[in-house]
C-alpha cells in the first residue's frame, strides 16, 4: 500500500501503545483503570423544552465550548443551535447563547431552511472555531445537508454560514455527529453519514475555508451511521459506528468498527466489536496508556445505560464505569417513581435547587406519556483536554445537556496521569 503524501496524513500528537498480536487464546493483559475527579454539571438553561446532540471542544485559552440544539420538539421550526462557555477559573458554564437559527441560516445560505439538527465543533491549530451543523429544507432528516460557520473570537461571534455540497443527488442526506479531527496540513477530517436510501458512513476532508477537498466511503449498505474516528498515527485510525441493522442470531446488536491504514483513503470492511448497541450514537477519545476509550449505550434495546469502556491490548473492550444505569428500570416506569428517581439523580448536579426541580419537571414533560416514563441517556460526545482530563457531554432524558469531567487513571500508580489542575 502506498504511503499517503504528508499533506494527506492525519495530524497526531500521540502514539498508540503497540497492539498485542499474540494468539487470542492467551489470557489478556487487561490493566484495571479507575475513574476519579468525577464532576457532573448541566450546561443548558430552561430556554428550550427539548435539548439534544451536544458537542464540546477545548479552546486554546484553556476553557471549553459546548454546543447543542434545542427547541420545542425535534424537528421544530424554533430549534436553535446553542453554545456555552466553560470558565476554567470559576469552573462554571456561562448562560447559553442561541448562536444559529433556521432563519439566520436561511438568510446566510440563501435557501429556505425549515429546521436545524446535529452540530459538531472543533478549533483548528490557528485558533479558528469551526461549527458544522445539519439543516433540513423539506422532508425529514434523510433530506439533511451540512452547513459550516466559523468564529475567530472563540465563539463570541460567528461568520455567515456556508452550505457544504457533499452529495450529487440534490445534495440530500449528509449529517454530522462524530468529533472532527485534523490532517497534517491543518485541514479538517469530518466524519459524516447518509441516511437517504441507505445508511452509511463517509469521511469528508474539508479545508479550513470550508471547501470539501475529497471524501471517502467508510462503510456501505443500510446499517451503519454516525462514525466516530480515533487517530492513532499519521496513517492509521479506527472508527466506530452506530448499528442500525437487524439482530444477530443471539439476539444482539453491536457497535461496528472499521479501520484505515492509509490516512482514510480506504477503510476496512466493518466488523462488530464486543459492545452492544441499541442503534444509538457512540463516543470515542484518546487515552495516553490504553490508546482509546469510548462511551456507549451497551444495551440491546433502549438507552437507559451509558458506560465508559476501555480498549485493551487484546483488542477487546471492557467496561470501566457506569455514568448512567437504570437497568432495573429498563422498562417504562410510573411517573411518581420516575420523578423520585430523577430527583435523587439531579441532587448530584452542581446547579441551584430551583434548577434541579425544573430539570425534573422538564424530563417528565419530555419522557412521560400516560403516566409511563422512560429513562434515556444518549448521544455521548467525549474529548480529552490538553491536561489529559476527559469531558463527556450527553443528552439527559431529552431535557438536559449533562457534562461530566473525569480522569481515568491506571490502578497501577506508575502509569497514572498527572493533571496540574482539574477543570
Amino acid at each position: 500500500m502506498l504511503t499517503p503524501a504528508p499533506s494527506h496524513q492525519f495530524s497526531v500528537k500521540h502514539q498508540d501503545p503497540p497492539l498485542d498480536s499474540s494468539p487470542t487464546h492467551t489470557v489478556p493483559n487487561v490493566t484495571p483503570n479507575v475513574i476519579s475527579n468525577l464532576v457532573s454539571r448541566v450546561i443548558n438553561d430552561d430556554s428550550a423544552r427539548l435539548v439534544h446532540a451536544p458537542a464540546i471542544t477545548q479552546l486554546n485559552t484553556g476553557g471549553l465550548i459546548a454546543t447543542w440544539w434545542g427547541g420545542s420538539r425535534e424537528g421544530g421550526k424554533d430549534v436553535k443551535v446553542y453554545t456555552s462557555f466553560f470558565n476554567p477559573d470559576s469552573l462554571t458554564w456561562d448562560a447559553p447563547i442561541a448562536a444559529l437559527t433556521a432563519k439566520n441560516t436561511q438568510e446566510q445560505t440563501l435557501r429556505y431552511i425549515r429546521k436545524l439538527g446535529n452540530v459538531v465543533i472543533t478549533q483548528d491549530p490557528e485558533g479558528t472555531l469551526h461549527l458544522f451543523y445539519v439543516s433540513v429544507s423539506f422532508g425529514g432528516w434523510a433530506a439533511s445537508a451540512i452547513n459550516w460557520s466559523t468564529s475567530f473570537d472563540e465563539g463570541q461571534t460567528w461568520s455567515a454560514s456556508k452550505r457544504l455540497i457533499t452529495s450529487p443527488f440534490l445534495n440530500l442526506s449528509t449529517l454530522v455527529k462524530g468529533t472532527p479531527f485534523f490532517y497534517a496540513d491543518g485541514s479538517i477530517g469530518l466524519p459524516v453519514y447518509h441516511e437517504f436510501a441507505g445508511k452509511f458512513a463517509e469521511l469528508l476532508h474539508v479545508s479550513t475555508r470550508g471547501e470539501v477537498l475529497t471524501k471517502t466511503r467508510m462503510s456501505k449498505g443500510k446499517y451503519s451511521l454516525q462514525p466516530v474516528v480515533h487517530v492513532s498515527s499519521p496513517t492509521n485510525a479506527l472508527a466506530l459506528m452506530r448499528y442500525a441493522g437487524p439482530r444477530d442470531p443471539y439476539g444482539n446488536k453491536k457497535v461496528l468498527q472499521t479501520t484505515t491504514q492509509d490516512a482514510g483513503a480506504h477503510w476496512s470492511e466493518p466488523t462488530f466489536i464486543n459492545i452492544k448497541n441499541p442503534n444509538s450514537a457512540v463516543a470515542l477519545a484518546h487515552h495516553n496508556t490504553l490508546g482509546k476509550i469510548g462511551v456507549f449505550n451497551d444495551t440491546n434495546r433502549d438507552r437507559y445505560r451509558l458506560k465508559l469502556y476501555q480498549y485493551n491490548p487484546d483488542q477487546r473492550w471492557s467496561a470501566v464505569h457506569s455514568f448512567e444505569d437504570k437497568t432495573p428500570q429498563a422498562l417504562k416506569v410510573p411517573q411518581n417513581y420516575y420523578e423520585k428517581t430523577l430527583s435523587y439523580d439531579v441532587s448530584q448536579f452542581i446547579v441551584s435547587k430551583e434548577r434541579k426541580s425544573r430539570i425534573v419537571s422538564r424530563a417528565i414533560e419530555n419522557m412521560c406519556e400516560n403516566n409511563q416514563c422512560e429513562f434515556q441517556y444518549d448521544y455521548p460526545y467525549l474529548i480529552q483536554d490538553k491536561r489529559g482530563q476527559y469531558h463527556l457531554v450527553y443528552t439527559w432524558n431529552k431535557s438536559a445537556i449533562k457534562h461530566i469531567s473525569f480522569t481515568l487513571n491506571s490502578a497501577n500508580p506508575a502509569s497514572t496521569l498527572t493533571t496540574d489542575k482539574n477543570l
Binding site: Y112, S137, F138, I165, P168, L170, A197
Partner: protein
Amino acid sequence: MSAGIISSFLVWAALLAFIFRIKNRPPRVRILIVVGIIISGLIPLSGLPIPLYIRAGIGDLSIVTQLLLSIYLINSLAGIYSTPARKVAYQQLCIFMLITGLWFYPTTLGLTYFDPYRFGYITDSMHWLILGYFFFGAIILLLLQSSWTSGILCIATLSFCVNSLESTNYWDHMIDPILMIGSIIFLMSSFIGQLKKKPEKKHPRQSF
C-alpha cells in the same frame, strides 16, 4: 451572485415560460410576461423569493442544465425554434447524460464502496478519470456533428475551473437529477413526435 442562485431563478423563469407558452405569444405580450416573471421571482414570500424555495428543494443545478435552460429561455423570448439538426444534437446530449446518470446515481446510494463522486474532487488522484470521461463524451458529440452540445460540455468544464458553483466537485458542474428528468421528458416527447411522423413545421426564424 453565484451560478447556484442564478440556477434557481432560471428554473423559475423556465417554468413560467413553459406554463404561459411564451414562445407562441405576440412580442408585446411576451415582454409583459417577462416583466411578470422577473417581478414574481423577486417578490419575497415569507421573507424569501420563490426561486430560493426551489433552490432549497433541488439544490444548485449543474452548469450544463443552466446553459440548456438559458437557451430555452432565449428561444422562448425571441420566438426562435430549433432546427431539426439542433434537435438531434440535444437528443444526443440527453442520451449521453442519461447513460451517465444511469451508472452514476445508483453509486451514490452507498450500496458499494465504489464512489465515482469522489473522483470529481480535483484533489483526488483519480480525478483525471472523470475529466477524461466527459472529454470523451464531448469528442463523441463532436464526431456526431454536434459541436453545439459538445461546446456546452466544454463551457461547463471551464466553469468548474473558475469555481462558479458552491460545489468543489466536477460532477456537480456537469450533471444533476433535474437534467436526468428533463432528458427523459425531452427524449420521450421527441420519440412520440417521431411516431406521429408529422412533417416538420417550418418557422420563419430558426436558430438554436
